[in-house]
Symmetry: C2
Subunit: 492 residues, 2 copies
């Protein structure tokens, strides 16, 4: 209770009454969490949620305080035992990163300092600027480029395409809107282009019809001749092509488009060249892939994730844009009450909000910064290489097994295969492999996901996991063959 | 080193070699962070960054490992001493929340579990669903509504307006794009509407010209008659009005539009009613404001932040949408490889990626969930009320001081005022108050920001800070008058 100018008041705060109690709880959280991560291999990858547990999450908001201790107990007892599973060595579903112990601790520090990374002159902003410089450096992208850490690949693609729209519409699209375009503003990719590109094209008001998807080769790489024809035909039909999206690692099979050829095509056609390198861009850290990915440096914008193949906890994606001023002009509003000052907190030249959608931004840079210091860049290169080697190893096991079929080339870290019971057609195999996938999950063995390739259902293993070991893939193949044989015997 | 099928390999991981060492480091981080937060009041709110410190963030990416210990030392020695300042009791700049100690610990737990909240059948998704239900409950919004936790108010507004565009364009805007519209799709707000609404309108391809801003009353509330005229005139001119954005707490002065009247107008005109309640929506937890904010329940979509007036660490905003199916249809793509399954991890009915931009989503729900359990909803109501009382108290101090001038009504938690040296015109006062604001920052006393009101520069204090006490405002007024008098004496 304070007495101020005659006002006696009881002032409350959300700070703890007893800091030592919270400190002890914090220590227990660290202990429990590190034990949990250290022993993750001993537990099932995933397990079904019991119905009575679901019911716990259907109760009204607590009105009275339960305390920090109780809040943590509820987490430990009811949430922690049922993770998604992507921290486990045998999680290879979708393209979902693993996270690291220090990354989790860094998130605590970031949230404790809790800066708003929208702008202002404070050191956390310097950390983000340095992380962006490091990203440019490690991907061979020009240092004069602008950049922005974002929530992930979807937002990274959206930011890149928003700048593309702004730069190539041919009129002030921010002011006039897309309706002012003389002809449809068209965007190009391949049929293997990630769905987030479609989401971005829709959100930007271009319409999914304006997203033209070229066919792919047998290697699932964009068919360049077909792409060129589509662009020419669209121009003849009155469209205004603005952008080509190149894939550095497609989501289904990990295919890498011919980025050099796409860069040349975009220069020739004066189109914005955006590279979606959600996970694949980071393969540039592996010597074998460096040359193949070098043309990323010619992209006008480059989107990739740090929470996939850099293994940092969610969320951390990144967009780099070659022409910083174009990037700024595509987003900056800088309203009166945010006018940048000469001195004081509102000074400084790092106003990230001028480069993207968010105004309030968390300190996601810290976990990246601390992780790169902890391990050094070279180790990330080795780990990414290790995941690629694991994919090749798995592909080898699949090839050797008479009852398994490799469904696509393995150019990077993704392996698509299926169990093949003799004498069964594709429809029956689709059903069998669907059930097989679910049993892998339900039995807690491993979490692949699936892909449809040429209409056929494939088990899909995407390896962006620093905990996986070669023997995990031995186990996977053994179990797939066991369950597959059981299902085939049952006529499944 | 493992030997697998004859392959001898040294497999690496990002897990620590010595878990106990990391555990000890984690304990030290908890200790340091809690000490830092406990003693925050003893330090300056903000201080300038020395040039030699900036230089530290201009060095190349480390190639070799430096270790977790060293990474933490670099953070503690070079980053932690220069926060933005919003964790300090006398930070009232822009509208930037404070964070809490347990909130920071919760972020560590969230990043340790590291689920991808895009979808799937795991308990973290249940936690987000419960947090969304709690948000509906506390704001009196229908429980059948859909919702999504997002990065903050900018994204929350973007999601709401994207649904509005989809629902009211009158054609399939996702497929056809905005260019297909017969007339401009127009969106309405007041001149006090937040810049993030403009950013959203631009991003959605509608064009900033399609954002029509009605004038405001002396209380900075939207002029309803003028709004109605604008809509009628636009219809006559061939526009297709789709949405009105109502303000629950404007950024400049905290004004609340007449939401009941706006809801009625939108029903009459068949327009989408979106409420931007970034911070103001939460005032519904204070009995005095309940009735005034009750019409939020009639909004088609409602955007607000949990990292502002719920004080949780960044990032945590929220969009609620009354018609869940419309919300889903505005965003869902559900590509093949994400097809929702009947059983296994890929089952479940919580696919948040169907309701927004992000595909990968972090576990931001956990800090909200644990915080509401820790303190109970009633305490949040009292703290928000406390901030409002503090604003009134400060306004009273300003009114009593002969050399201070209140520049706007104080309907909520924002106080705009200036130092008034006698005999000086507005231009001179603008300059004096600008310098005064910078000195408040530079001397580490307090961080207000500023507003331009009727073209005049005002010091702006926005209170969403659970650490502020009444005597902090006594100190602010004392220091503003001291610095103001010094500057006036110098002819500044």
């Amino acid at each position: 209770m304070t007495v101020t100018q005659g006002h006696p008041v009881v002032e409350e705060t959300l700070d703890p009454e007893d800091w030592d109690e919270l400190r002890a709880l914090g220590h227990r959280m660290v202990d429990d969490l590190l034990d949990y991560l250290r022993t993750v291999r001993e537990r099932p990858v995933w397990r079904p949620i019991p119905p009575e547990l679901r019911a716990r999450f259907r109760v009204p908001v607590p009105r009275a305080p339960e305390g920090a201790e109780r809040a943590y107990q509820d987490f430990r007892d009811h949430v922690l035992p049922h993770p998604m599973g992507n921290i486990h060595p045998r999680f290879w579903g979708w393209v979902i990163g693993t996270g690291t112990p220090l990354g989790a601790l860094a998130e605590m520090l970031a949230a404790g300092m809790n800066p708003n990374m929208g702008g202002g002159d404070h050191v956390p902003n310097q950390v983000e600027a340095q992380v962006l410089d490091w990203c440019k450096e490690m991907l061979g992208y020009p240092l004069a480029a602008s950049g922005l850490l974002v929530s992930g690949g979807s937002m990274a693609n959206l930011v890149g395409l928003a700048v593309a729209r702004h730069a190539r519409a041919g009129f002030d699209v921010r002011q006039k809107g897309v309706r002012d375009a003389a002809g449809p503003l068209t965007v190009y990719g391949s049929v293997e282009t990630h769905s987030s590109v479609r989401k971005a094209v829709e959100l930007l008001g271009l319409g999914s019809e304006a997203l033209r998807l070229a066919p792919v080769t047998d290697e699932f790489e964009i068919d360049l001749a077909a792409l060129e024809r589509m662009i020419a035909e669209d121009r003849l039909a009155g469209c205004r092509p603005i952008c080509v999206v190149g894939n550095a690692g497609t989501v289904n099979t990990g295919a890498l488009d011919d980025l050099g050829a796409l860069a040349a095509l975009c220069e020739r056609e004066r189109l914005w060249f955006h590279v979606d390198g959600a996970f694949g861009a980071l393969a540039a850290l592996v010597p074998e892939y460096r040359r193949r990915l070098a043309p990323m440096a010619r992209a006008d914008s480059l989107a990739f994730d740090l929470h996939k193949w850099m293994y940092v906890p969610f969320e951390a994606g990144c967009t780099l844009v070659r022409d910083a001023e174009t990037h700024r002009r595509a987003f900056s509003l800088t309203p009166d009450y945010l006018a940048h000052a000469e001195r004081g907190l509102a000074a400084g030249d790092l106003w990230f909000t001028d480069y993207g959608v968010q105004l309030t931004r968390g300190f996601r840079a810290l976990k990246v910064w601390m992780s790169l210091k902890e391990h050094g860049l070279d180790k990330y290169g080795r780990l990414i290489g290790q995941n690629i080697e694991q994919a090749r190893y798995l592909a080898g096991l699949v090839r050797e097994a008479p009852d398994l079929e490799l469904m696509a080339p393995v150019p990077l870290n993704i392996v698509c295969f299926r169990y093949c019971a003799t004498g069964r057609g594709d429809a029956a195999l689709d059903g069998l492999n669907q059930e097989l996938l679910i049993q892998l999950h339900e039995q807690g063995i491993a979490v692949p996901s699936n892909a449809l390739l040429g209409g056929r259902f494939a088990l899909r293993v995407a390896i962006v996991n620093h905990r996986s070991r070669l023997d995990d893939f031995d186990l996977l193949v053994r179990e797939v063959r066991r369950i597959g044989a059981e299902l085939a015997a049952r006529g499944g």
